[in-house]
């Protein structure tokens, strides 16, 4: 299979802030690739470069063989984009939004109309089709925005944090819709800060941090990179935590992770179920009461932790230096 998205050495600086620092990436046709990283890792900047919204300071990129820098107009004919902020007109109805987008993709009046109705049906928005978007819920706006990216049945789709800020039900619903897209051979590059999202949707994951790719592979490959399994023990009493650390320390093949509030300790191990039985015996003989126990494959959070030395989830909360963004973003 050939690479339908290709980027080499992308660099983008905003004054002092380096948003992209020599990013390379390639996406094979018909696959879903997730750009995974914390806030400020450069995910949105990467998508903006590939969708011709901004020009990189250095590097080059092609989408479906077309050079993003030399022929941006041609690239726009081949892509659909759904951004982090629902890019729909809130005074227009859902139908009018999609119809307008269809016209601007030059589908022709008739095709734009039928396509709008078709997508509204598919995204469960038919009942709300003729209501102004300002009456929609957040989840409905996102679905409409996603539908907007699909209007022209573009071969390459970019979804920038499609589910950020959505509740769990809306998120699951959106995942289901996204999965069905790629059954039809569409190539999809999506960015996410949710490890579960990458796990659920992506064939390949590109972990990026500080504007650079730091790991690349299937979800399973990334997990193998970190290796082994994890034993997660929750003790009944907080006072037993040091004892649990001590016991697990004897079997762990790497560093332990502890969380005092949830009274859990996580140990990387290699022996699987047999090892788990041994560990439980050790807890028994040391008279440390265990309230919950889990043996699992590493999660992408473990992967991120191992690669960057910081938890992706915890870094989401740290504030990033504000990028000189578009005007008025803050007002939304």
């Amino acid at each position: 299979m050939k690479d339908i998205i290709q980027a080499t050495g992308l660099v983008k600086r905003y004054g002092e802030v380096v948003a992209l620092d020599g990013l390379d990436l390639s996406v094979r046709e018909g696959t879903i690739v997730a750009l995974l990283g914390p806030n400020g890792a450069g995910k949105t900047t990467a998508v903006s470069v590939l969708t011709t919204l901004i020009e990189p300071d250095e590097g080059s990129a092609t989408v479906a063989g077309v050079d993003v820098l030399k022929d941006p107009a041609e690239v726009r004919k081949l892509i659909g984009l759904s951004g982090q902020y629902a890019a729909v007109d809130k005074d227009l109805t859902g139908y009018e939004n999609l119809d307008m987008i269809g016209c601007l993709y030059h589908l022709g009046r008739k095709r734009a109309r039928s396509r709008a109705r078709e997508l509204l049906d598919r995204f469960d928005l038919a009942d709300a089709a003729d209501r102004p978007v300002k009456t929609y819920s957040g989840g409905m706006r996102r679905r409409l925005d996603l539908a907007g990216a699909l209007v022209a049945e573009s071969p390459v789709l970019f979804l920038d944090e499609p589910t950020t800020g959505l509740d769990l039900i809306s998120r699951r619903e959106l995942w289901r819709l996204i999965r069905t897209l790629v059954d039809q051979g569409t190539t999809l590059l999506l960015t996410t800060q949710y490890l579960e999202e990458a796990d659920r949707l992506a064939d390949d994951v590109l972990v990026i941090d500080k504007g650079k790719a730091i790991a690349h592979g299937t979800v399973d490959e990334l997990k193998d990179m970190v290796g082994g399994e994890r034993i997660e023990i929750k003790v009944a009493d907080r006072e037993d935590l040091p004892a649990a650390h001590e016991v697990l320390g004897r079997v762990a093949v790497g560093e332990l992770q502890g969380d005092e509030r949830s009274r859990t300790v996580v140990a990387p191990v290699t022996g699987g179920a047999r090892e788990l039985a041994g560990v439980l015996q050790l807890f028994e003989s040391n008279e440390v009461p265990v309230s919950e126990v889990v043996l699992r494959r590493p999660t992408l959070d473990d992967v991120f932790l191992a690669l960057t030395g910081a938890s992706a989830e915890s870094r989401e909360q740290t504030s990033e230096p504000a990028k000189p963004g578009r005007r008025g973003r803050g007002s939304r």
């Binding site: 903006s48 969708t51 011709t52 919204l53 901004i54 020009e55 107009a73 726009r76 004919k77 892509i79 984009l81 951004g83 902020y85 629902a86 890019a87 729909v88 007109d89 005074d91 227009l92 009018e96 307008m100 987008i101 016209c103 601007l104 993709y105 030059h106 102004p132 907007g148 963004g325 578009r326 005007r327 008025g328 007002s331 939304r332």
Partner: protein
């Protein structure tokens, strides 16, 4: 092909703007009320105070009010664009294979419709307070077309301004700085001949004066016995106004489109 695409995409955007005008009635209320207010205010406050021998000052005023109002209306173009640029929909537009000129082209086009509405309301109000079209119907039609053409050209100036300010609020202030002197140092409310020399020369060559002069002539609202204008623009007001409008469009349309592309890119 490029030109046709721009035109087609511009129409799509214009349609969107008109839907928004319909949906957000407070804008429409302003579009309808301000011309009524202008006509009543000027007709009764000034119109009753000043006497013109042999003519009606109220009739003389109408041409000026027509001119001033459509030019004030052009701020809509700038405000609309400044507002659009803050909205997420612009991100969508930028990723679509549409003409780069479409957003600005569509905005100036939909503002022609605003102006048609404004002129209609204003003309009806004028007729109620005693203004009359004394020339032929064809001339009257030409007057309205001339007003629309000139307003369209000013729309492009305001488009550039709207794309250069950080927010719609700044635009209102910035545009008044341009519009007020332009509409007042003219023959809109007083004959240009009565102004002191420097201002008189400015007023005589001010295209707003020629627009107003042309409209007065075409509506037959020049009082009998009024002195023949001394300057070329006011002697040939229709030609001069059309020339100025074309020149303004030729200069500001490319500047506004280029500005749009630049502002849209900066993110």
């Amino acid at each position: 092909m490029n030109f046709l695409t721009a035109l087609g995409d511009g129409l799509v955007i214009a349609r969107r703007n008109l839907i928004k005008l319909k949906r957000v009635p407070d804008v429409l209320v302003f579009v309808l009320l301000s011309p009524i207010m202008f006509v009543l205010l000027f007709a009764y406050v000034f119109g009753s105070a000043i006497d013109i021998p042999g003519g009606s000052y109220r009739e003389f005023l109408m041409g000026g009010i027509f001119g001033q109002t459509v030019i004030f209306g052009a701020t809509f173009t700038g405000a609309g664009l400044a507002e659009d640029m803050q909205k997420g929909i612009i991100d969508r537009f930028r990723s679509l294979p549409m003409s780069r000129a479409a957003v600005v082209l569509g905005r100036t086009a939909s503002d022609v419709i605003y102006n048609v509405i404004t002129l209609t309301v204003m003309a009806i109000t004028g007729l109620i307070v005693g203004w009359r079209i004394r020339g032929s119907l064809l001339d009257a039609l030409a007057a309205f077309l001339l007003l629309l053409l000139f307003a369209y050209s000013v729309s492009w100036v305001m488009a550039l301004l709207g794309l250069s300010v950080p927010s719609p609020e700044v635009l209102n202030n910035a545009s008044f700085i341009v519009i007020f002197p332009l509409t007042f140092i003219a023959n809109t409310f007083v004959p240009a001949e009565s102004l002191p020399t420097v201002l008189r020369v400015f007023a005589e060559w001010n295209p707003i004066s020629s627009l107003v002069q042309a409209v007065r002539e075409l509506f037959g609202n020049i009082p009998p016995g009024a002195p023949e204008p001394a300057s070329w623009p006011l002697q040939n007001p229709v030609i001069y106004t059309v020339l100025c409008a074309c020149l303004i469009i030729a200069i500001f349309a490319p500047l506004a489109v280029r500005r749009y592309v630049r502002v849209a890119k900066k993110s």
